[in-house]
Amino acid sequence: MLERLQTISEDHEDEESEFNGPEHDVDKVTLSQQAVIFENSSAIDEVLKEAQFIRKEISLLQLEVERMCMQNERFGTSVRRLTLLKKDCDSIAKGVQQRAEVLYVRLQDLGKMSNQLEEKESPNSAVSRIARTQYDTLTLAFHAVMSDYSKAEEKQKNTCRRRIQRQASIMGTDITDEQLDVLVDKGGEGWTELSQSLQPQAARTCRLAFCEIKNRHKELVELEARLKEVHELFLQMAVLVEEQGSILNNIEVHMHRTQEHVDQINDHIKKAIQYKKKNPFLQCCPCLPSAVSKAYKKYVSSNSLN
């Protein structure tokens, strides 16, 4: 990269004395301009603050999901302290879900804010576009994190299922995938059924295996319940993301959909011109000092701004 800032400032110092700003009508421009600046910068600040908060939360959520994955790995590969590890996994997973639900609500609020801004201002005003863009990209990011979470839970579920099946086969009973589905769906009852089918065979010699299966079954039931909740959340979001998809994340497409900014000032100027024509002072006494007619104009344009 070539840095050229210094050259420019040196050039400018030489030229500065020659610069002459153009004349402009302070009445028409400054008055409405100040009103616009004040409004748009505080609305923009609000949107940006909220977006920044959500963005940070999403990163933290991502970190939690990664932590959960690592913990699941440890659980999957250990043979000792399984209960303790499992407790950790569970608590992280529950934490992720709670955080995600709160975040989802906040994200939806941002969406509502964006819709309100589009109605109040125009969909083309800077603040509406800022809000819409932030909402769209944050939704995509949130969806991505939730996908990762869901995949991790699925993986965990499969590990758990395989463990049960392995333990059961150690004990002499083979459980097929379909049988396992049924047992899990039945929850606590499923466990009773399972334990009855296992008990007659060598329950005393394989007591450890027996406990293992009991725990894994419980865990699986909890996992399925959690996954069902996430499933619900996803159904709502998936429609949204499917409709927008990666197309909105494309900068060129995004820009083509943006139209020229039609200054609201234009409307006011048109009205001012109309009033000027109808200005009673100018019509009856064209030689009246311009201060009076200017005062009239100012009065009219400040009224039309409200």
Binding site: M1, L2, R4, L5, T7, I8, S9, D11, H12, D14, E15, E18, F19, G21, P22, H24, V29, T30, V36, I37, N40, S41, I44, D45, L48, R55, S125, A126, I130, T133, Q134, D136, T137, L140, H143, M146, S147, S150, H231, F234, L235, A238, V239, V241, E242, E243, G245, S246, I247, L248, N249, N250, I251, E252, H254, M255, T258, Q259, H261, D263
Partner: protein, 571 residues
């Protein structure tokens, strides 16, 4: 999976070198990003909205549209140093009320003195906190493909009409190509195909620009083995077959047969919602596309997973990618089966000069006549067959025979496409201005699995020859003497010398590169060749290919059609 290669290099340069650079470490600053057409195209090809938003950009504006004042935010300008954009920039700070709080200006290439002085004289100089030339004046289309985003280039080089702007155009092109090398930190030996005068002129100009860049940026070309990097300038007329032939690999076939504009594929879908029209971007962010794009359509087997989609919405993103590619493949096959399978057989026999069994083609005319008389085929398909027949004849054909063919095919309205190819140096009319010019001798290749995909783009032979250091120096001269090539392999320990590989920026890639620029447009099959040759070297070499624009057979024929016409001033 993060993209590697050109997109990663340019993306990193823009995100860190431009957008992140305007704030200090740890500071959270929000900015408005303002781009002109070139800036927008470069940005869009390697960054997504979510990337730039994560770096603090809140809104992206078009410099040429009228924009709202946002005085609380600083603005980043990513623009080409051309009059229209510079004037618009100056305009933003002309009145008493500045449009933005401050300006950070990034030019895609070196700014000419005149415009620079204009900026210096304006109030922009007061509010400019940054002013840099980033030296990226090309689009990184894929990890090994670049484009200069100028579809009028074929016309500029080869039109029959006089072009006063030609010198300026060649200079601009050379500057853009130099920025490709600058971005990759390469200082290649420049070579060109001997023959058309434009090749030598462009190569010369590129060398001049490269030297200028090297003076500002001495680290270009430094590194082990970098002295072997070469830049080849080649003209489209060198291989007129590849952009015309019907290809059966996924990407080439899709772009040829379906209406895909700006890499966006549109289709009807039944997903989670009701049936609706979907737009999908085909690019390297889609891992499945990267896997499938160079595969033969018969190998690209994509299962119908739409049932699974309904049961597991959390996999919706992955499964809808499958759905897209399934639709794409089905649409291609539908068109193919409708009329093209016979056609492709004839085409392959013509370009290989032999049947799949190895029998030399005896009566080419006999095989093409049924195609020409087939009223169900599009005129452009017939023109493609006629052209392939002419190239098969090597010495061209008589005007009489050409007229007969045109009549059989009933394509009088488009017949100038055929004769315009003479502008590219191709031998169309026997004994005409290009008499004596022939297509190069081909390498023997074995092992093509599919009878309908026997053709290899000529550029692939060239790529392999460069890498083996066998490319004839008389047919492909160097602009300057290259550094002596070290042919002895120095023993490299597996334990040492690799520590930097995980930490270095993407452009720092050990090993030489072969960069090829095709004047007039590059075909999909040639792009595929770059990847295939790279893979065959096991990563020792990286082959990059680019042009003013990427061709489809239809766009190529359209470009050819306009060569003998006056350009439309509205374009």
């Amino acid at each position: 999976m993060a993209p590697s290669g050109l997109k990663a290099v340019v993306g990193e340069k823009i995100l860190n070198g431009v957008i992140k650079s305007v704030k200090k470490d740890g500071e959270w600053k929000v900015t408005v990003l303002i781009v002109d057409h070139m800036g927008m195209r470069i940005l869009s090809s390697c960054c997504k909205m979510s990337d730039i938003l994560a770096m603090g950009v809140t809104i992206v504006e078009d410099i040429n549209k009228r924009r709202e004042r946002i005085c609380s935010l600083e603005a980043i300008y990513l623009i080409a140093p051309v009059q229209k954009s510079v004037r618009a920039l100056i305009n933003d700070f002309k009145d008493v009320g500045f449009t933005y709080k401050a300006a950070h200006i990034f030019f895609t290439e070196p700014c000419p003195d005149g415009l620079f002085t204009e900026i210096g004289r304006s109030r922009v100089a007061k509010v400019a906190k940054t002013l840099k030339e980033i030296n990226i004046a090309f689009l990184p289309c894929e990890s090994q493909v670049f484009s200069l985003d100028d579809p009028t280039s074929l016309y500029s080089f080869y039109s029959s009409k006089p072009n006063e702007e030609k010198d300026k155009m060649i200079e601009n092109l050379a500057e853009q190509i130099a920025t490709v090398c600058d971005t990759l930190k390469e200082y290649p030996a420049v070579r060109y195909r001997k023959g058309p005068e434009e090749n030598a002129r462009l190569a010369d100009e590129v060398y001049r620009r490269l030297t200028a860049h090297k003076a500002d940026n001495p680290s270009m070309g430094e590194g082990p083995d970098k002295a072997r990097t070469q830049l080849l300038i080649v003209d489209r007329g060198f291989d007129p077959i590849s952009p015309i032939l019907h290809e059966l690999t996924f990407q080439a076939m899709a772009y040829d047969l379906l209406d895909i504009k700006q890499d966006i594929y549109m289709y009807q879908t039944t997903g989670i919602g009701d049936s609706k029209e979907r737009e999908v971007l085909l690019n390297e962010d889609d891992d499945l596309w990267v896997q499938l794009r160079h595969m033969h359509i018969a190998d690209a087997n994509i299962k119908d997973l739409s049932q699974m989609l309904k049961k597991m919405p959390q996999y919706q993103k992955d499964l809808s990618m499958y759905s897209t590619h399934l639709h794409l493949a089905e649409a291609c096959m539908k068109k193919f089966k409708a009329s093209l399978d016979k056609l492709c057989e004839v085409e392959q026999d013509l370009v290989m000069g032999a049947t799949p069994d190895g029998e030399p083609l005896k009566d080419a005319m006999k095989s093409i006549v049924p195609v020409l008389l087939n009223n169900e085929l599009e005129p452009y398909d017939k023109i493609r067959i006629i052209l392939l027949y002419i190239f098969h004849k090597k010495k061209g054909i008589t005007e009489e025979n050409l007229a007969k063919l045109i009549q059989h095919a009933n394509i009088q309205a488009d017949s100038n496409i055929i004769t315009n190819l003479e502008n590219l140096g191709c031998n169309i009319i026997a004994g005409g201005s290009n008499a004596g010019k022939t297509l190069p001798e081909r390498k023997e290749r074995t092992g093509s699995t599919y009878d309908l995909s026997r053709w290899t783009p000529i550029i692939k032979d060239v790529m392999e020859n460069v890498i083996d250091d066998k490319l004839d120096k008389r047919q492909w001269p160097f602009i300057s003497d290259p550094a002596p090539i070290n042919t002895t392999q120095t023993a490299v320990s597996a334990r040492f010398g690799h520590w930097h590989k995980n930490k270095s920026p993407p452009e720092y890639r050990t090993g030489p590169r072969l960069i090829i620029f095709v004047i007039g447009g590059v075909a999909h099959s040639e792009m595929r060749s770059a990847y295939e040759v790279t893979q065959a070297t096991d990563g020792k070499w990286e082959v990059l290919i680019g042009s003013s624009h990427i061709l489809t057979p239809t766009s190529f024929l359209n470009d050819l059609k306009s060569l003998d016409q006056v350009p439309n001033p509205d374009c």
